[in-house]
């Protein structure tokens, strides 16, 4: 996938000094200029059609909806990238997402005094999501995510799924009946 920007990319990657200055926020996702960056995983995602803060919130929200401790943040970032792309040409989508995040942040501030993405614990954030799970915003994000997260070929090995097999000759000689623990 090419949706993530490598930290080494000259025009967008923040310097180490900038990174250090940004440390302190909860989680590994930070904003640097027009990008969401994850120094721990060494990637950045340029965001120009949405507010970068909105994309950061979407990525946190994505993990809260489908939390897999074995999956790195970048898979959630890749899954949410279509909102950045789509916002360029679809004003209704952009409004749905920006306003949805405002709602999330408003609820989070009322309860915890900080925006959604900075609420410290998953359980607290999930409680906020439960309040909006019937909303069009949540439904849109969850419905898209269940495809855009689990349809990434790079995540399949994490779940032990081997993907396409025809070009490898199927499983006739590759363990279709190799179960040994029964």
């Amino acid at each position: 996938m090419t949706t993530v920007i490598d930290r080494g990319s000259p025009s967008r990657g923040p310097s180490r000094r900038t990174l250090l200055g940004l440390m302190g926020a909860t989680g590994a996702l930070m904003i640097s200029g027009l990008a969401v960056i994850n120094p721990r995983e060494a990637w950045g995602l340029e965001v120009t059609n949405l507010k970068p803060e909105t994309m950061r919130t979407l990525i946190v929200m994505a993990r809260d909806i489908y939390p897999h401790d074995k999956l790195a943040d970048r898979f959630y970032a890749i899954a949410m990238k279509p909102y950045e792309t789509g916002a360029a040409t679809d004003p209704a989508l952009k409004a749905l997402v920006e306003e949805g995040v405002i709602t999330l942040d408003t609820l989070a501030r009322a309860k915890h005094g900080v925006p959604y993405a900075d609420v410290g614990w998953e359980e607290q954030r999930v409680a906020i999501l439960r309040e909006i799970e019937e909303s069009a915003f949540f439904q849109k994000v969850r419905g898209g995510l269940v495809v855009s997260l689990y349809n990434q070929e790079e995540v399949w090995p994490v779940f032990g799924y081997e993907g396409a097999s025809a070009e490898k000759g199927g499983y006739i000689d590759r363990g279709f009946s190799d179960i040994s623990w029964l």
Binding site: Y66, H68, A166, I172, R174, F176, S177, I179
Partner: protein
């Protein structure tokens, strides 16, 4: 004149759809020397073009033209515009099917007599019996190469089957095997044997699985009597002043409207599109749609009682390796109302890849309950339950005049509510499926709700009396002698068995009838 045939050739049989019903009927008629034009809405793909990727394949093969839904079924909430997971492609849903090929049981042809008067159910006995269909079942099994018939050995069991089989035996089931499958366990009829690829639902890339696309239509075409026109969407069946069908109007691959004349028209567009076509063909003479004097066109929509059960174990299963439907338990298939419901159900192994597992495990679900189940994917075994559901007059396909397709015609709305008998049977099946997996050490079992329907049945049902249904025992409409229905929409009731073998048997039987009537000049 050999194929291709002229639009004005009114001696041809026009068949709408190329799946189990239409593809078989067209081929069988062509083999008998009858000239046939099959109009297929979808494209023609070769088996090399099929994709071992669930969503990509879905985009290639699935019927995703707009449809709407209503009713209390969960599909309406989670997949409001996808009532059915079926195929728009030459070969129809035989490209997608898993291959399970089971005969109906004797009592399933006479459910009204056997089950009695069930409140809310519009039960009716078929106008044919098992004995009448048996010779055609035998022909169908032979041409499809069904395992465990005609001396063909069963397929080997994969990991998913081994877990399923061990669990089934542990709780006392005895009728457990790798089933009767239209998948070659050894080379037969110029097709090779199963390579245990998996992805049976995505189109078999080795050709081991029978489909009309690879196993029927080419044989028909080789006679010179069969022409298949892909990307040809039929809009309307036309008739003359005497009420006889004269041909069909369709949009061809270039978007041009065409009119193909016909001596006989046979509708085989699956149980949603077939009634839609009859209803959209309404005329001054037939204001409620063609063949609809009974008012039964579109009614009694059945989708089988379905659901799935998954068991998560401590150790790996790799359920996705090998045939998708790798085995069956038939112990619950009979009728025994001591269980609290009439009719019966089959349990068949089933596996999904990670993308579809996520989509279908618990549609709309999220959070750690959901993701912990996904985390157990490689240790998961899965089965599908398929049982007889009750026909109900209110479960029906209607025209949604609020929503039009690209040709300006109303789309189909599919309304469905479970009958209490369906719910009782499903709950029983969920418990039995879970018990099987728990018996061999499942640490967690999950019932999952029905997917968008793969078995769509009953919307143009067979009946003895014209007032009770749409077609007679030959699939000939009661109202119009040269108009036939050739797909699963003919089913009077659904049985517990996967429907394809019965659709094929009925199509072979119908071909005999049509050819006979044509030679006697009675049609």
């Amino acid at each position: 004149m050999a194929a291709p045939f002229d639009l004005n050739d009114d001696s041809v049989v026009v068949i709408v759809g190329s799946g189990a019903g239409g593809g078989t009927l067209g081929t069988e008629l062509a083999l008998k020397g009858v000239k046939v034009v099959i109009l297929e809405a979808g494209k023609r793909h070769n088996m090399e073009d099929f994709v071992n990727n669930e969503w990509e394949s879905f985009a290639q093969l699935a019927w995703t033209d707009m449809r709407t839904t209503s009713g209390s079924w969960r599909v309406h909430k989670n997949f409001p515009n996808l009532p059915a997971w079926i195929v728009k492609s030459v070969g129809g849903s035989t490209v997608h099917w898993a291959g399970a090929s089971l005969r109906f049981q004797e009592h399933e042809f006479k459910t009204r007599a056997t089950y009695g008067d069930i409140d809310g159910a519009n039960l009716l006995d078929w106008p044919i019996t098992l004995a009448e269909l048996e010779p055609y079942y035998a022909k169908a099994e032979d041409r499809m190469g069904v395992t465990r018939t005609n001396g063909i050995p069963g397929l080997p069991g994969n990991n998913n089957f081994k877990v399923f089989e061990a669990g089934a035996k542990k709780i006392g089931y005895t009728e457990v095997s790798t089933g009767r499958m239209a998948i070659n366990s050894q080379p037969r009829h110029d097709r090779g044997s199963c390579q245990q690829i998996g992805f049976c639902f995505q189109g078999c890339k080795s050709g081991a699985k029978w489909s009309t696309l690879i196993a029927e239509i080419p044989r028909g075409e080789a006679t010179g009597n069969l022409e298949v026109r892909p990307e040809s969407m039929v809009l309307k069946i036309e008739h003359d002043a005497s009420g006889k069908a004269t041909g069909v109007v369709y949009v061809d691959k270039d978007g041009k409207t065409q009119r193909q004349k016909a001596r006989i028209v046979a509708v085989a567009g699956n149980s949603i599109e077939s009634p839609r076509l009859l209803l959209n063909s309404a005329s001054t003479m037939f204001p409620d749609g063609l063949a609809n004097s009974s008012g039964e066109v579109g009614r009694n929509y059945m989708r089988h009682m379905t659901g799935s059960v998954y068991g998560i174990f401590e150790k790996p299963v790799h359920m996705y390796r090998g045939t998708t439907m790798a085995g069956i338990v038939r112990d619950e298939a009979g009728h025994d109302d001591k269980r609290g419901f009439v009719g019966g159900y089959e349990m068949e192994t089933l596996s999904l890849g990670v993308p579809f597992m996520a989509a279908f495990l618990n549609p709309g679900g999220w959070g750690r309950s959901f993701t912990s189940a996904m985390d157990g994917y490689v240790n998961t075994a899965g089965l599908w339950i398929v049982g007889e559901d009750m026909p109900q007059e209110t479960n029906r396909v209607t025209l949604n005049t609020e929503v039009k397709d690209k040709n300006g015609l109303p789309v189909a709305n599919v309304h469905f509510d479970d009958h209490p008998n369906d719910i009782a049977m499903r709950n029983h099946a969920y418990r039995q499926g879970a018990a099987m997996y728990e018996a061999v050490g499942a640490v967690r079992t999950l019932p999952t709700p029905p997917y968008p329907s793969t078995h769509n049945l009953g919307t143009n049902r067979m009946s003895e009396k014209p007032r009770d249904g749409v077609v007679n025992k030959h699939g000939q409409t009661h109202d119009i002698p040269n108009l036939f229905v050739s797909d699963g929409s003919q089913f009077t009731t659904g049985g517990a068995e996967n429907p394809t073998l019965t659709i094929v048997a009925l199509a072979i039987r119908q071909a005999d009838f049509i050819a006979g009537e044509m030679s006697r000049n009675t049609i």
